[in-house]
């Protein structure tokens, strides 16, 4: 009797991890080193009681204790949250409505109007605030003076130096425009067939929008809301100008004062205060994953049909509403910036002489200006080209590949928003100088390019993720089944579908790179000064015309970014999916 053959034991030979695991490891190591390591250094230093002499370390909780026991900390935290909730409660639904109108209805000049929201985003926040103070200052603001004269009263129409004024200034700044910028391409990806199904079932336009369109748009809307929330503690300029005179203090101003005003800078206390953002992020990460895992959000599939929805008699009102918002967001700051650049003192007609070319002469005569212009252009163009390609691939991996480590990588990106640029810049400086093999980068343009490219990582990756969630897998599967490789599929299937998002994020990152200050101020050398750093220097120099000169430099940045944005949009529309009206 013979027995059944005994199976050979499994081979104990070493098996290489799958390619995906390698790729994830590399990504986690690279981004972890760049993002987590500097943050870790900053945090370690926050437990050092020695704030002056470098090289000495005295483990202590004193910085954290001082930070949170300073009088007014809780009050400033409450003020920050209150202002944020107040302007987001208005800005978010308004932005969603405007994005829907721009992307889904055939209002006239929709592309031009959308572009004006980009211009609004490019304009410096400080200029917008100052422009509105010239109109709404309770004593000399043009609108209030006219109101008083017209009605013979001492009452003001609106006092911008108030909490309501701070909320208003945020709305007129980036609060609406940034959301419109990010949401409009997402709305454009809506499959009109889904809405047609709703209409055929008897739902009106409003009901269709509320029951079909908005639920499908949850991924990009949630991402935009979360991106804004984690940056809640970054805003301080508006509150500094409008809030300080009325003793209204916010959390971010405290962080700013600790870093930029205190001597020596109190990075330890600032880090302690900024750590609140990390707590918010820790809540957001699982919430985001739960929300996006609940259901399918595919809008673009093999049967994707782009289209527009006619609003009938409401069409002209929709156009008027959007045009009014655009006017409010752009006319005042552009007039302030452009008109102010030709005035001896921007906004003051009593100055003698009232108008002058001296500020423009100062700019063009500054020996650093043209060098800074070329440096800024090189950095920004590199960012605009590299960042969307790089981050679209990372986002694809996070959404479409089932590789291990995706949650870790995604969490690393969220953590990058945990520390404001003025703190993380210091951590990065230490990393660059202390790491053998990296310190050659210091003082070169290369480190500025790297910082600028990676500056937009969180927004870019999250927006690409939400875009990929909208795109069905059937088209990629069809391409692969037909024998197409990954690269061919990326260029022939993905690129046309994500082109608007590529253009959007390339332009957005160009704008961010051109305006970057906190993240690069410690890394820039004499030979790599950028326009934004030059403008910052003028702004912080306590001389008479410095603000007007800084304004002209900002105008140059805006003109450069607007020009690039126009070119990029044209390119994006050439390669993207076209829509048609229904």
């Amino acid at each position: 009797m013979t027995s059944a053959p005994i199976a050979a034991p499994p081979s104990r030979r070493f098996q290489w991890p799958a390619a995906g695991t390698f790729v994830m490891m590399l990504l986690i190591l690279f981004f972890g080193f760049y993002i987590i390591y500097p943050i870790a250094l900053i945090f370690i230093q926050s437990f050092n009681a020695e704030t002056v002499v470098l090289g000495k370390y005295e483990l202590s909780l004193i910085n954290w204790q001082k930070a949170f026991t300073e009088p007014g900390t809780l009050e400033s935290l409450w003020n920050t949250v209150f202002v944020y909730v107040a302007y987001t409660a208005v800005a978010f639904p308004v932005a969603v409505l405007i994005s829907w109108v721009l992307a889904r209805t055939p209002i006239p000049f929709s592309r031009g109007l959308e572009f004006m929201f980009w211009v609004s985003f490019m304009l410096p926040g400080l200029t917008t605030t100052i422009g509105w103070t010239l109109l709404l200052d309770p004593y000399f603001g043009f609108i209030n003076v006219a109101f008083k004269g017209l009605f013979g009263t001492d009452m003001v129409l609106f006092n911008i130096y108030s909490v309501e004024g701070i909320v208003f200034a945020h709305l007129m700044g980036n609060a609406i425009s940034q959301k419109v910028m990010l949401l409009t391409p997402a709305f454009r990806n809506m499959n009109v067939a889904l809405e047609e199904a709703g209409r055929v079932s008897g739902a009106g336009r409003l009901r269709t929008m509320l029951r079909i369109t908005l639920p499908v748009m949850v991924p990009p809307m949630v991402v935009v809301l979360m991106l804004n929330t984690v940056r809640m503690f970054n805003s301080f300029e508006i509150e500094q100008i409008l809030g300080t005179p009325i003793k209204f203090y916010v959390y971010s101003t405290r962080i700013f004062n600790l870093v930029r005003e205190a001597e020596p800078p109190l990075y330890g206390e600032a880090t302690a205060l900024a750590s609140l953002t990390l707590i918010i992020i820790l809540l957001f990460i699982p919430l985001q994953r739960w929300l996006l895992a609940r259901r399918q959000y595919t809008t673009i599939s093999g049967s994707y049909k782009p289209g527009l929805i006619h609003l009938g008699v409401m069409q002209p009102f929709a156009f008027a509403f959007v045009a009014l918002v655009v006017a409010l967001l752009t006319v005042v700051p552009v007039l302030t910036l452009l008109g102010g650049s030709f005035m001896t003192r921007a906004g003051f007609f009593q100055a003698t002489p009232t108008y002058t070319l001296a500020h423009w002469q100062t700019v063009f005569a500054d020996p650093i200006f043209f060098r800074a212009l070329s440096t800024t252009f090189i950095i920004s163009i590199s960012t605009a080209v590299v960042s969307p390609v790089l981050f679209s691939m990372v986002a694809y991996i996070l959404v479409r590949r089932a590789w291990r480590g995706r949650a870790v990588l995604d969490s690393i990106f969220w953590f990058s928003a945990g520390i404001p640029g003025m703190l993380s810049g210091l951590g990065l400086l230490w990393v660059i100088l202390d790491t053998p093999g990296l310190n050659w980068l210091f003082g070169t343009i290369w480190i500025l390019i790297i910082v600028a490219i990676l500056q937009g990582k969180l927004t870019s990756i999250q927006m690409f993720k939400s875009t990929f969630l909208q795109i069905g897998q059937d088209m990629e599967e069809a391409a692969r089944t037909s024998g197409a490789g990954w690269l061919y599929t990326y260029f022939r299937i993905w690129l046309p579908l994500i082109a608007p998002t590529l253009v959007l994020l390339g332009t957005l990152n160009f704008v961010l790179a051109a305006g970057a200050t906190s993240s690069v101020i410690l890394l820039a050398s004499r030979d790599t000064v950028t326009l934004s750093l030059l403008a910052l220097e003028y702004m912080t120099t306590n001389v008479g015309a410095a603000r007007e000169v800084a304004g002209i430099i900002s105008l140059v940045i805006v003109a450069m970014t607007a020009g690039i944005a126009l070119v990029a949009r044209w390119f994006g529309f050439q390669v993207g999916v076209r829509d048609r009206g229904i």
């Binding site: 500094q240 005003e261 020596p264 003051f348 100055a351 202390d434 310190n439 410690l522 306590n542």
Partner: protein
């Protein structure tokens, strides 16, 4: 390469002029050293030659007046043929970077022209500055009798690191000339008159930028902590963080009086035709103060170009250098008393007969500054200001 040769040749050509005038021969060696200078001591000549071999000096110009001194740098280059590579911008930013560089053994800066605060708080404790007196070679510069009160002035506890070369009378009060008569305010105690309640706009006196004004007032026995408490609690001033905003409010009459930090901007507004003045036309009853602002000169320790550094220091403190600095800086007089100051406006000149409190030479001011600022912060915080 070609551009460097052309510029070097141009400098050499320009430098031949004084050589022809005085009949001196240039030192030999490199093309950049073919520059003629007037008669100097052998020690200075040796320094000049060594500096010319180094070929460049790295300078930080931090602060309002130092920034303007960019225009003075070509004069040094022309005179000695040593290139000045300067950087402007915030002192804090430069300090952070320099200290981070030094930690890993990189030394990139030779000279620092700027405010004393950052230097006192960050550079001195980290031993980033070189002892100054030993670096002075020119006998004309070493002669302390030529300086204010017959001595060199150092704004650090050891009197050897932060050389203060310039100062001017401090003006703390700006006012709207249509709403305030100067005779109404002859003393700081006049600002405690109830009629000014809620009508004063100011920087926070505990802010670093106002220390040069507020700390001397705190130390003044005629004012002190009592005055600040009364001012903050009784007069309810409006505190802003933007000096330009405050000065504009005074200029348009929203507030009749501006305090701490508004003077410079008020002067600019006055020059643009606004009814505002940045200083009182009379000294205050409590006495006058000299403020150095950012008129300080420091030598970096372990400088990459030590000879060029020393030459620059000696040139900056020479009569010629000081005359140039105050002419270009416009808002600071030189503490060197043999320098003609008719190139600056009267309100910035140090009156030879004036009886000034000189804070940057007072050990109490230097040693207690941090403590006093902390007390001011507490006073303002208790009054509801952050």
């Amino acid at each position: 390469m070609m551009r460097k040769l052309v510029s070097t040749g141009a400098v050499a050509a320009l430098a031949m002029v004084p050589a022809l005038a005085f009949g001196e021969q240039a030192s030999p060696a490199s093309a950049s050293s073919a520059v003629q200078v007037a008669a100097v001591t052998p020690e200075m000549q040796k320094l000049i030659e060594a500096a010319q071999k180094e070929g460049k000096v790295e300078v930080i110009l931090s602060g309002q007046v130092p920034r303007k001194l960019r225009e003075a740098m070509p004069e040094f280059e022309k005179k000695y043929g040593v290139k000045v590579n300067f950087q402007t911008g915030s002192g804090r930013k430069h300090a952070e970077r320099i200290l981070a560089e030094r930690r890993v053994g990189r030394f990139t800066i030779d000279v620092w022209l700027g405010g004393a605060n950052t230097a006192l708080v960050q550079l001195v404790p980290n031993k980033a500055l070189a002892s100054f007196p030993e670096l002075l070679v020119d006998p004309d510069v070493k002669d302390q009798s030529k300086w204010y009160k017959g001595k060199h002035h150092y704004t650090d506890p050891e009197h050897r690191y932060i050389f203060t070369w310039g100062a001017s009378p401090a003006y703390n009060i700006s006012y709207n000339t249509k709403m305030v008569k100067p005779d109404e305010i002859k003393s700081y105690h006049d600002l405690l008159n109830p009629k000014w309640k809620g009508k004063i706009v100011s920087w926070n006196p505990s802010a670093q930028g106002t220390a040069a004004s507020s700390v001397p007032m705190f130390l003044n026995p005629k004012l002190g902590e009592t005055w600040f408490r009364r001012w903050a609690n009784e007069m309810k001033p409006v505190i802003v963080t933007d000096a330009r905003q405050a000065a504009e409010w005074v200029a348009i009459g929203r507030f009749p009086i501006g305090l701490f930090g508004t003077a410079t901007q008020a002067e600019v507004l006055a020059s643009q035709g606004f009814p505002v003045a940045g200083w009182m036309p009379h000294p205050m009853a409590e006495g006058e103060v000299l403020s150095a602002s950012a008129a300080n000169l420091m030598a970096m320790d372990r400088a990459p170009n030590p000879n060029a550094r020393n030459l620059f220091l000696n040139w900056a403190l020479s009569k010629e250098g000081q005359a140039l600095f105050i002419k270009i800086g416009e808002k600071t007089d030189s503490l060197r008393r043999d320098v003609p100051n008719n190139t600056i406006e009267a309100q910035y000149r140090i009156d030879p007969k004036g009886d000034y409190y000189v804070p940057f030479s007072d050990p109490q001011y230097i040693n207690q500054q941090d403590e006093i600022i902390a007390k001011l912060k507490k006073i303002m915080s208790e009054a509801g200001y952050r």
